[in-house]
């Protein structure tokens, strides 16, 4: 069942992209050799960093423009490098030191995990605004520094993504550090190694695969991200990223402009992501995850006075900076306005109440909420059914078949959502065109322009399946095979064993996997803003909340605050799910490899 599901809804559509590229290879070659796509020349660095002679002088940071393909690589690489470096500092402090405020710091570090698409990127744009932004207000007006800073284009996209994905890096690095058996470090201490040497000689080498996996995961997420480029799309440089180009060419396809170049760009995006994933596949498979979530109590040290000062001086400001976009996005709901001031103005509960009332009274927004919940529930049901099948097969089978299933089940983590959207759109169009003559009703049912919901639900299920599978697989690892063997020996069939033995024993894992899957589905962006808009914005719209947020952000100031209010609903869903999974079901949450 697992093979069939993933084969039909993952592998086959991706093959179609490849086919379209081959069909238009001539056009692809002509397009792709254009410097717009690849421009590794010294000119690319001309406006990367300079000082504009204004009064006061403005330090302009934009990053080099190396063409779409190389831009995507350097931005994603920079984000991953920055996040792993900062994430390591944070993870190390929390994993290895005991100090007052440690629990609070750990809690605050997970705040940026809560996703409020577009809103957080918008807030960073406001913060970085060269004329009225918070950053320049702090630097120039508060600290009286004799210069201003303008961060725009690709550099701004990189900053947003670094803030968005920092908790993912931190959580994975934290897991890697705490996975090292503390006895290994204690023996080093006992033989004479101080903290620094023991960490250098024992902890770091053993947690390097986890660090590498964290780097790759952030890299994949960053290269796939389309929300940040959309928010900064007024700047032409910010549009020169693979994700934005695939997205905008997808919209062109809707207007009838079919482009093999778009397919090729999607293929490049796919190749980069999958290749990165395969490089660390050994460390992100189901078996590795099951070992990983068995937490050990790590060896910890008490910092001296200077250590404490450094911890407080570095960690808390770092967390505050990472959490600032989300906090800023939430204040948009409470603010009267945020236009030409460094901070949102006139915060009040009445504003929030009024905006929430508007959202719930707007039939389109309500429809968006209903769609989101409907897609989430439908996707979960599919993910649970398929996830159980895959997890059981991967856990109980031996040999290459199990390894292949393990790889296939985790691979969707590396498949960019835009690529899935593109592949589904292409495939379904071709399919329904072929069916229309002989089976017009079936063709209508499968037409993505009439019923994108079908493809959204399947797309969400495919993309978020790994998180559900992993949760169930981890639970299976705790159940000895003898439990099933005894039942089989007493005469039960395997379906009965599944129903009467395994599923009851796995109910917590299934539930936590379902909750995690629901959160990821409801906050998903790439599929939502592509397939979700195929029926437009009308009474029967298929748009979920995140698509409405995208639409509202483009419609002006009040649209921004409406989008933030919709985002608040998403936040409420996420917080509820995180609380349930971590406190009640005692499961780790959050993109941990």
């Amino acid at each position: 069942m697992g093979y069939a599901f993933l084969g039909l809804f993952l592998v086959l559509p991706l093959v179609f992209i490849f086919w379209q590229v081959l069909a238009g290879i001539g056009e692809v070659y002509t397009s792709i050799t254009d410097p717009f796509y690849v421009n590794p020349s010294p000119d690319a660095f001309a406006n990367a960093f300079f000082i504009r002679p204004t009064d006061p002088p403005t330090v302009v940071i934009r990053g080099p423009d190396l063409g779409v393909v190389l831009n995507s690589l350097w931005v994603a690489f920079t984000v991953a490098a920055v996040d792993v470096a900062l994430g390591f500092v944070l993870a190390y402090v929390l994993a290895k030191y005991v100090f007052p405020g440690r629990t609070l710091l750990g809690l605050l570090a997970t705040i940026p995990l809560i996703v409020m698409p577009f809103a957080t990127a918008y807030v960073v744009r406001k913060i970085l605004d060269p004329r009225w932004g918070t950053l320049n207000w702090i630097l120039h007006d508060v600290l009286n520094l004799p210069f201003k800073v303008e961060i725009s284009g690709l550099a701004a996209v990189a900053i947003v993504q670094s803030l968005m994905y920092l908790p993912i890096a931190y959580l994975n690095i934290y897991a890697a550090l705490t996975r090292v058996d503390p006895t290994l470090e204690e023996v080093a201490n006992n033989l004479g190694a101080d903290e620094r040497k023991a960490v250098r000689d024992v902890v770091l080498p053993l947690s390097t695969p986890g660090l590498a996996a964290a780097f790759v995961l952030v890299f994949i997420f960053a290269i796939d991200d389309v929300a940040a480029p959309i928010i900064f799309q007024d700047d032409p440089a910010a549009r020169k990223l693979l994700s934005y180009q695939v997205y905008s060419k997808f919209l062109d396809q809707l207007r009838g402009q079919i482009s093999p170049t778009a397919a090729f760009l999607a293929l490049i995006l796919l190749t980069i992501s999958v290749a990165s994933f395969l490089a660390v596949r050994k460390y992100v498979g189901l078996r590795q995850y099951a070992m990983l979530i068995r937490q050990l109590r790590p060896k910890s040290y008490t910092p001296g006075p200077l250590g404490k000062v450094l911890i407080y001086a570095l960690s808390f400001p770092l967390i505050a900076t990472a959490a600032a976009p989300l906090i800023g996005a939430l204040t948009l709901v409470f603010a009267d306005r945020w236009t030409t001031t460094p901070l949102p103005e006139a915060l009040s509960l009445q504003n929030a109440a009024a905006r929430l009332a508007e959202v719930f009274q707007n039939p389109l927004f309500l429809r968006g909420v209903v769609n989101t919940i409907y897609y989430g529930v439908a996707a979960i049901l599919i993910m649970i059914a398929v996830g159980i099948a895959i997890a059981v097969a991967a856990a109980r089978l031996k040999g290459p078949a199990a390894d292949a299933l393990d790889a296939l089940a985790t691979m969707p983590i590396a498949i960019p959502g835009l690529v899935v959207a593109y592949a589904y759109f292409l495939t379904s169009l071709q399919f329904t065109t072929a069916l229309r003559g002989a089976y017009p009703d079936l063709a209508d049912l499968l037409d993505p322009l009439r019923h994108p919901e079908l493809y959204l639900i399947i797309g969400y299920s495919v993309r978020k399946l790994p998180f559900v599978v992993r949760s169930i697989y981890a639970g299976l690892q705790q159940i000895h095979p003898s439990m099933e063997e005894v039942a089989l020996n007493l005469g039960d069939g395997y379906t009965g064993v599944l129903r009467r033995i395994l599923i009851p024993l796995l109910k917590n894992n299934i539930l936590s996997g379902a909750l995690i899957g629901f959160v990821y589905v409801t906050s998903e962006v790439s599929l939502s803003i592509t397939l979700g808009v195929l029926k437009g914005v009308g009474q029967d719209t298929a748009m979920p909340i995140t698509a409405f947020m995208r639409e509202r952000f483009e419609s002006g100031l009040y649209g921004v605050q409406e989008a933030a209010t919709l985002g608040l609903l998403l936040v409420a869903i996420q917080v509820a799910a995180i609380t349930l999974t971590t406190r009640v079901l005692k499961t780790r949450y959050g993109f941990v490899l």
Partner: protein
């Protein structure tokens, strides 16, 4: 050679769990002291306190006259072999063993050549010559245990601390290696503390045994003292196999007592007992002799267990298990059973 002295050593976790409760213990220089007790009795915590891997809540730890209580583990010159062995998987056998020496290179003025020589010597001592280039995962359990031991010995510690080092091995290997561990520790005259829950292992390895329960020392002595003169009910029943009968004191004088358990038993006791007092009488199976005089019993079952026959007897309504080299009778037969030795403890 070092004398280890623990004075009123106490460790409380989370302000609630008393893991080590006012322990006083002296380990003489060159002695092997086994700390024996059930799981959760605090023996590993005690070892970690001596190693400096835990800080005591109160009390002192002295090596000879030096108070090491507040010294970090790096500065105590002890060497731990943990239960999991904790071999570093990313290092070869050679690097694992050489690690401690390399840390001491400057202080002890060691050249790389000297380090290599000492590592080779200690690997020879533990019979692992030729395996220097292997990684831990390429070794058997017994070999891994020896590498962990070599790593500890090569730094010439003042105190060697072994935390159930044979627990992860099969029974046959445990027997082989425990003899080796004792031989090596004695040869090098290292003061050794050996934690185990296996009483046979404790008796085979140690010069003296400290029996521990619920954080407290119950008795410290040579193996034969612990076995033949248990200080209390816990020691009597934890060490060896035993029959336990509830009875009442008929007469008591000094360390001797006559107890009625349904039939009369002469018992030794560490307590001052009074007639009429209720006591628990502990009788070892090998101290019950069948066929001479004594109480009338019916044989309920006879089981051959390899080295001996275990006979289940019913004597005046009480069930006793006896052990001996020959089957005394068939099930159902009536026999006379004499109890050669017993202890009486207050419940």
């Amino acid at each position: 050679m070092t004398v280890v002295r623990l004075e009123k050593l106490r460790k409380v976790f989370d302000n609630r769990v008393v893991a080590v409760d006012d322990v006083d213990l002296v380990v003489n220089d060159g002695e092997i002291m086994a700390v024996l007790g059930p799981s959760g009795c605090g023996k590993t915590t005690l070892l970690r306190l001596v190693a400096g891997l835990e800080d005591p809540t109160s009390g002192r730890i002295l090596f000879d006259d030096r108070d090491v209580t507040r010294l970090p583990t790096q500065e105590r010159n002890t060497a731990v072999v943990p239960q999991t062995w904790a071999l570093w998987p990313h290092m070869t056998v050679f690097d694992n063993v050489a690690y401690g020496l390399r840390l001491r290179r400057k202080k002890a003025n060691l050249t790389e050549e000297e380090i290599r020589r000492r590592v080779r010597e200690v690997l020879e001592l533990v019979d692992l010559t030729g395996l220097e280039g292997r990684r831990p995962f390429q070794l058997s359990g017994g070999q891994q245990q020896r590498v962990a031991l070599a790593r500890a010995l090569v730094v010439q510690p003042e105190v060697l601390l072994l935390d159930e080092p044979l627990a992860n091995l099969d029974a046959k290997l445990r027997v082989e290696l425990r003899e080796e561990v004792r031989k090596i520790a004695k040869r090098l005259s290292i003061t050794t503390i050996y934690v185990t829950h296996d009483q046979e292992e404790a008796m085979a390895v140690a010069d003296r045994i400290a029996v521990m329960n619920a954080g407290r020392l119950q008795q410290v002595g040579r193996p034969e003292e612990i076995y033949h003169k248990p200080a209390n009910f816990f020691v009597a029943t934890f060490i060896g196999r035993s029959n336990v009968l509830r009875g009442r004191v008929v007469e008591a004088k000094g360390e001797a007592a006559a107890v009625d358990v349904g039939f009369p038993v002469a018992a030794q006791t560490p307590h001052r007992l009074a007639p009429g007092e209720e006591v628990d009488v502990v009788v070892r199976p090998e101290d019950i002799f069948i066929g001479g005089g004594g109480v009338k019993c019916v044989v309920e079952d006879v089981v051959f267990l390899g080295r001996y026959y275990q006979t289940t007897l019913r004597c005046s309504g009480k069930v006793l298990k006896a052990e001996g080299p020959r089957p005394p009778a068939q099930p159902g037969e009536e026999v006379a059973a004499e109890i050669a030795r017993a202890w009486a403890f207050k419940p």
